[in-house]
Structures are given as C-alpha cells and as structure tokens.
Assembly symmetry: C2
Homo-oligomer: 244 residues x 2
C-alpha cells in the first residue's frame, strides 16, 4: 500500500508551445530585441494550428517575455523591465490583502541599506539623478499628486544608485502600493511636505559626501517619519492597501 504515484502531468498544447519558446528566450537562443517568426511560420515549425500559436503568444506576452513595439506588427523578445514586473507584483500583493503596515515595514528594512549602498556606489550620473529628484520634489511638493510622484522618483533614484539591480525591481511595487496612502498623507498633513523635503536634502547631501553611515541614519529617520505621518492622518495601518 506504499505504492504512491505522482499524478501524471498532462499539458495542453498551447502551454507546451509557450514553454518551448520561453525556454529558447531564457537560454538566450532568442536574443532580446530579436523578432519572433510570424505566427504562420511558428505554426508550421511546431506542426500545429495558428490558433494554438496565438494562445501561446498571449501567454508569453503576459509573462513579459515578448512584446510588440507600438505601431508595429512583429513580436520581439523583450527583457522584463521594472515597470512590468512591478505591475505584476503589485497585483499579487493587492490580491493577498497586504496592509500598509507590511509595505511600510519592507521599506523600513530596504531603504536605509539602499541609501548606504548609494553613498558607496554613487557615480556622477546617479548622483545627478538623486539631486534632480530632490529639486523636483522641492519644486512640486505643493500639489499632492506631483509630490507623491516626486517621493517615488527620489526612492527610485536612490535604489538606482545603490548598484544593486534587484533593489529597483523589488522596491517599485512597494512604492506603487504606497502611492495612494502617501497621497492622503501629503494632502492631510501639510507639515509633512516640508519634513520630507528636508530629509531628502540631508540624505542627498550625505550620499554626495560618500557618508554611508549618515545617509543610512537619515533614511531610517525618514522612513520612520512616514509612519508617524500615517498615524497623524489616521490611515489605519492594518487595512489592506487600496488597489491601483
């Protein structure tokens, strides 16, 4: 009675086709930017009907492995970028009823080391982006939507300067999830606008000086401050983040 059998896996054709093509993309046989063969040719090569190919293509398209440049017909292989991955992740997070508190906790963990790394790995280009983000926020922090965008760009600039390409990818969905709550915060707690601006400037200065320790500390304070702000404007931390 110990004869345990694995359920034998069937796979519909469109899934196998998608898998085959995906494998070629992942092992770089199909390079990024390269156009895919036409649907009819793929159908001929796989020996199946075009409908099946199309279903497989939709699957790959949704997985961000292929895409069509605007106004063009041919599909090309693409490398999933932060924005696409973030969208998918945000969806998953939102459907799992993630709370504002959880998102904020992740930022509390991620951002201080990010600032520290940025101070160590900064380059003229990345530094310029951070400074421009700070200036942008300064110039726009009076309108809530623009201010939210500015805060996001600041964090993106920091993550980009950290030299770790995982950070932007992981951070992006968190920022998107927090955007709504941030908007409320900035709208409802005017002093927060000023505090954010000051914190950004300190962090930016510390990074420019290459002072990782200082950048880290200021960033930690900055993130903690967001939480205070949420409490001030009565955003319930344990309610699920609103869906985009």
């Amino acid at each position: 009675m110990s004869a345990r059998f694995e359920p034998l896996a069937f796979a519909p054709g469109y899934r196998r086709v998608a898998g085959e093509i995906a494998a070629r993309i992942l092992d770089r046989t199909l390079k990024v930017g390269e156009p895919l063969p036409s649907e009819l040719e793929l159908a001929a090569q796989f020996g199946v009907n075009r409908s099946m190919i199309r279903e497989a293509l939709r699957e790959l398209e949704s997985a961000d492995l292929i895409a069509r440049r605007r106004g063009t017909k041919r599909m090309v292989v693409v490398r999933p970028a932060a924005a696409q991955v973030a969208g998918r992740l945000r969806q998953a997070f939102a459907l799992n009823d993630v709370t504002v508190r959880e998102v904020w906790q992740m930022l509390e963990v991620l951002e201080p080391p990010a600032a520290q790394s940025a101070a160590a790995a900064r380059t003229p280009a990345t530094l310029a982006r951070i400074e421009s983000a700070v200036a942008g926020y300064r110039g726009a922090h009076r309108q809530a939507p623009l201010a939210v965008e500015g805060v996001g760009e600041f964090f993106r600039a920091i993550a980009g300067a950290s030299g770790n390409r995982l950070l932007p990818l992981i951070q992006e969905p968190l920022l998107q999830l927090l955007a709504a709550a941030l908007g409320v915060l900035i709208e409802a707690v005017p002093p927060a606008r000023e505090r954010i601006g000051i914190a950004q400037e300190r962090i930016c200065a510390a990074i420019a000086d290459g002072d990782g320790e200082l950048a880290r500390n200021w960033m930690a304070k900055h993130v903690r401050d967001f939480r205070r702000g949420f409490e001030l404007c009565r955003i319930e931390l344990d309610t699920p983040v609103p869906l985009g």
Copy 2:
C-alpha cells in the same frame, strides 16, 4: 511647434477582454475560488468569438489570476501564491543578468530584520516550523541537494514567522536564484555544512527565546558566512546567476 500629441492607444480585443475580466477579479466582483463562466458564455456576453476569449484567458492564466484545478475543466479565480510570483520574478531577474553578489546582498539586507521580526511575532506554529526546518537540515545536510532544500526551508520558515506577508513573496525568488550556487558551496566546502547547522540552531534558539537582537545578530553572521563560503569555493560573485 509645441503641439505634442499622445500616441492614441488602440488595444486589440483580446487585451481589452482580459483587462475587463482582470478588473473584475481585482475589485473582487469575481471572488477567489469562484469558477469563471464557460468560454462560450463569455463569448456571448462580450459579443465576440470564442477564439478571442481563449486568447484573453491564456493571458489571465499566465498572470496567475485564473487557473484550473488539476483534472478539472472549469477555470477558477485564484490568488497568486508565493511560488507562482517567485517563478515570474526569478525569470525577470535571470534575464536581467543579476549576479550572485546582488542576490546575496539582498539577503544580507532582508534576513537579519526578518529574524528579528520572527522573534517578536513568533507563534507556536511558526516556531514549530522553524524547529522542524532546523531538524530537517540536521538530518539531511550530508546530501547536497537535500541540504540546499533544507536551507531554503529554514529561510522560508523564518520569513513566514516574521508576520509580514511580503517577505516570503520577495524572498522566494532570491532563494531560488541562490539554490544553484548554494549547491556548489555545500558540495565543495564540507565544513560549511556544520557551520550552517550551528547558525540555524542559534538563530532558532534566539527566536524561541524572543530575543530579537540576538536572532538578528546571528542571522547577520549567518548570511555573511555564506559569502565567505562562496569565496572559499571560488564562486565568482559577479557572474550572472545561472538560470533555473
């Protein structure tokens, strides 16, 4: 000449259909577990051909918004779980040529706070899982593949105990990416097996005691140790992680 126009966005039918259904899932009109209408019915409702519906379904399927329970016909709405999200993320990371160093850095950032949170938020159930993971590693650390699995399960147990549902989702792809390098490490550096076991026990004990500080410190040491191990067995930190 400042008349700048937005490119007017057209969207093929299958994409709009997928968008409509996705919206219903995200706003909870369609609840998790609920079966989708049949393809013919959807086609009738949208007033389009079944082919189009099928392409839209493939898109949603690939986005992990719908799925089919094994051996059944009807599609049901699902909530994307860690495993699925992780797979997608891992793909994105791998295609972006993320290096072992970057993955390791993220763990260095994430894991110590995770251990600390776990010490604070532990419950009998989560503690039991951690202990069972430690015991499992102890029992299996002689065979490299099992040991890698054990290390993964340890980290998963910690993240699960942290009380933050984002952590498992973010951590999972990192573990998957590191699995290959870990296998090499455990195979090539026998003393590492023992060191890992000891670190796990210390961390586990600290969490059981509710000593967050201690758990954090041991975890930091533990993660740093991995890096030493990689250097010992000459895994080049700046080569891209191998694809799964």
